[in-house]
């Protein structure tokens, strides 16, 4: 193995990436926009979970002081009240699930309509009925959460970063290498003394460098706005993201090993990345999900990287606490590199 050749390809790939301003900008902008978007949506008071239609009403959006709905219902947080001039207007929206619940204003019998197939409608119905009951105090005892509260944005942020790393690794290694094979770049490189191991190593190392550089810039930029709380060590977080990044890039190598169809490769990348994104708890927890879904989630490196990162960031865990996650990531990395190198082909 020649480090001179490896360095040459590493350097060339980095130059390519940093000179492609559109790709570079998007790599920084995409995670920042998502974090900023979610920060605004979940951090502010305007977040809406349920939409209730009210008729007849002259307003488009109804505030609690503009309606004669029961006050406790009208003041419920996370419900937006939308006015309709007539029953027909409202029921049309309800049928198409544009709203979750429809209620007639000023009705002595509190007439309402709800779709039996709508889970949100079911919840709003329960809320609506409960607000009509007499206010009974001490029906349940509320206890406070002890210790530091984890803000939603602090829980979400590692997920967004990890998801960005996943897309960048799979597309940046898998898709790019396949495109190079199709264009004939790999064939030209194969005519030189460069070995497959040197080439693949340079691609993974370059991607790691790019991933961590992007991570650093995005973290710094987002932290200026959201002031994230990191309970554990920044060094431990770096080790977790570094290991996870290598593992995801190695996954990209497996995708890149064969094939020269960009369309097919983009299908494969989507086939892997979308389930990985949804089942790795980037957006929501899998608590209560069927066992087989949790088993599938364990196959994804993102699950283990994210689990370790959240433990360090939110719970103050140390590297020894996340040893199982790191061990799985290292095992997956070795396996992916061995499989990727064994299957790799320079030519079409």
């Amino acid at each position: 193995m020649s480090f001179k050749r490896l360095w040459a390809m590493f350097h060339a790939r980095n130059l390519e990436f940093f000179r492609d301003w559109s790709a570079l900008g998007w790599n920084f902008l995409f995670p920042f926009l998502i974090v900023a978007g979610f920060g605004m949506v979940f951090g502010g008071n305007d977040y809406t979970e349920y939409k209730v239609g009210v008729f007849p009403s002259q307003y488009d959006i109804i505030h609690s002081d503009q309606t004669d709905l029961p006050l406790r219902f009208a003041e419920t947080r996370y419900i937006k009240f939308i006015g309709f001039k007539s029953f027909e207007d409202g029921i049309e929206k309800l049928k198409h699930h544009k709203i979750d619940f429809l209620v007639k204003a000023g009705s002595p019998s509190h007439e309402y309509w709800v779709s039996d197939s709508s889970p949100k409608g079911y919840i709003v119905e329960k809320i609506f009925k409960s607000t009509l009951l007499p206010n009974v105090k001490n029906i349940a005892e509320k206890k406070e959460i002890k210790g530091n509260e984890i803000r939603y944005i602090d829980w979400l942020f590692p997920g967004i970063l990890a998801m960005n790393m996943m897309f960048s690794a799979l597309w940046g290694v898998g898709y790019v290498v396949v495109r190079y094979r199709k264009m004939g770049v790999l064939k030209r490189l194969n005519a030189t003394p460069l070995t497959a191991f040197e080439y693949l190593s340079s691609q993974v190392l370059s991607r790691i460098f790019i991933l961590l550089f992007t991570l650093g810039v995005v973290w710094f930029g987002c932290d200026l706005v959201f002031h994230f709380k990191v309970a554990g060590s920044y060094f431990d977080l770096f080790i977790i993201f570094f290991t996870g990044g290598i593992c995801l890039s190695a996954y990209g190598l497996v995708i890149a090993a064969r094939g020269f169809s960009e369309e097919f490769t983009s299908g494969v990348v989507n086939f892997i990345s979308w389930p990985m994104m949804f089942l790795s708890e980037v957006w929501f927890s899998l608590e209560g999900s069927p066992h087989w879904i949790k088993l599938i989630a364990k196959l994804f490196p993102l699950t283990h990287m994210l689990s370790a990162a959240r433990k360090v960031m939110n719970d103050g865990a140390t590297l020894s606490d996340v040893t199982p996650e790191l061990a799985v990531l290292i095992f997956m990395t070795v396996l992916s590199i061995v499989v990727g190198a064994a299957l790799f082909s320079w030519n079409k």
């Binding site: 001179k4 050749r5 360095w7 040459a8 390809m9 350097h11 060339a12 790939r13 130059l15 390519e16 000179r19 492609d20 190079y180 264009m183 004939g184 770049v185 064939k187 030209r188 490189l189 194969n190 005519a191 030189t192 003394p193 460069l194 320079w346 030519n347």
Partner: protein, 294 residues
């Protein structure tokens, strides 16, 4: 004879297709060996097998008298027919990156001058013309001071000026004593550059020799062209083969003196006479036919 490269009974099969069918040839050091033939004849497959880009089905390839070793790629320079380069790099950076891939390398300044790249060396290699790209590809093939160079249709798609410029660069490379294997569709190119030529068709070598040997062996006849109006006698009277094409008479002969004497004796007006010597294109068409190949 001291051969740099020897090919013995080389075969390359793709499932049902035999792309290269048991060909053998040798290339002497410091010469330019040309492979010509119609599309699909097996030229590119042949040189890609020799280059170690694709594996042979059977046969023997000897470089300096021995099977190719791991150092083979260090000693050869390759220009592919279709290829691309890493994007967003300047020409100079591309040369430097490729230079780093070899143990032995040429002086970049010298390569830039030989290939006329000085003025465009800072340009991004995605944004250069076809001729400039071919010159860059040639420069990359020279970056490791190769002893043997493979040039696969180096001038395809170039305009006449760019093609002649490329030929002059290849001549400079030849003057440095490099051994070259070249494939081309341009017979003029093969005739100008190659010392020895093999004509391939259907995966086999159907003729081989120097350009002059091939012409002498396969196309000895000279063509004399005259307007039909300038001939004041019946063509049936002449003892030569002839064709009538677009109002002109094309007489084929291997004895030009006798033919011209006969035309003069019959009072033919020779003002618009054209004499066309046989060339490699005639040899090529005689051997491979005039049927369209895809």
């Amino acid at each position: 004879m001291n051969y740099l490269l020897e090919i013995k009974n080389l075969v390359k099969k793709y499932k049902q297709v035999v792309a290269v069918d048991g060909i053998s040839f040798s290339v002497s050091e410091g010469t330019c060996f040309g492979l010509i033939g119609p599309n699909g004849a097996g030229k590119t497959t042949t040189i890609e097998v020799i280059e170690d880009i694709i594996p042979p089905t059977s046969g023997e390839i000897l470089y300096k008298g021995k099977p190719r070793s791991s150092s083979f790629k260090q000693e050869v320079g390759i220009q592919f027919q279709h290829t691309a380069l890493l994007s967003s790099l300047t020409l100079r950076e591309t040369l430097k990156i490729f230079k780093s891939l070899y143990n032995k390398s040429a002086d970049i300044e010298e390569i830039i001058d030989i290939c006329n790249l000085r003025e465009i060396q800072k340009r991004i290699n995605d944004k250069i013309s076809g001729g400039q790209k071919q010159r860059l590809m040639l420069a990359l093939a020279m970056i490791n001071k190769p002893e043997l160079m493979f040039l696969d249709e180096p001038s395809t798609g170039l305009d006449p000026q760019a093609r002649r410029n490329l030929w002059s660069i290849i001549h400079k490379i030849k003057e440095k004593g490099k051994t070259i294997i070249l494939t081309t569709h341009y017979m003029e190119e093969a005739q100008r550059i190659c010392d020895e030529i093999a004509i391939m068709d259907n995966g086999k070598i159907i003729a081989q020799g120097t350009p002059n040997q091939l012409i002498k062996k396969y196309c000895e006849e000279i063509t004399i062209i005259l307007p039909k109006d300038s001939i004041g006698f019946s063509m049936e009277q002449i003892p030569f083969r002839y064709l009538e094409i677009n109002g002109k008479i094309e007489i084929k002969t291997s004895d030009i003196n006798s033919c011209l004497n006969m035309l003069i004796s019959k009072g033919t007006d020779l003002t618009e006479l054209i004499v066309r010597s046989p060339n490699l294109e005639n040899v090529y068409l005689n051997l491979t036919g005039k049927q369209l190949r895809d």
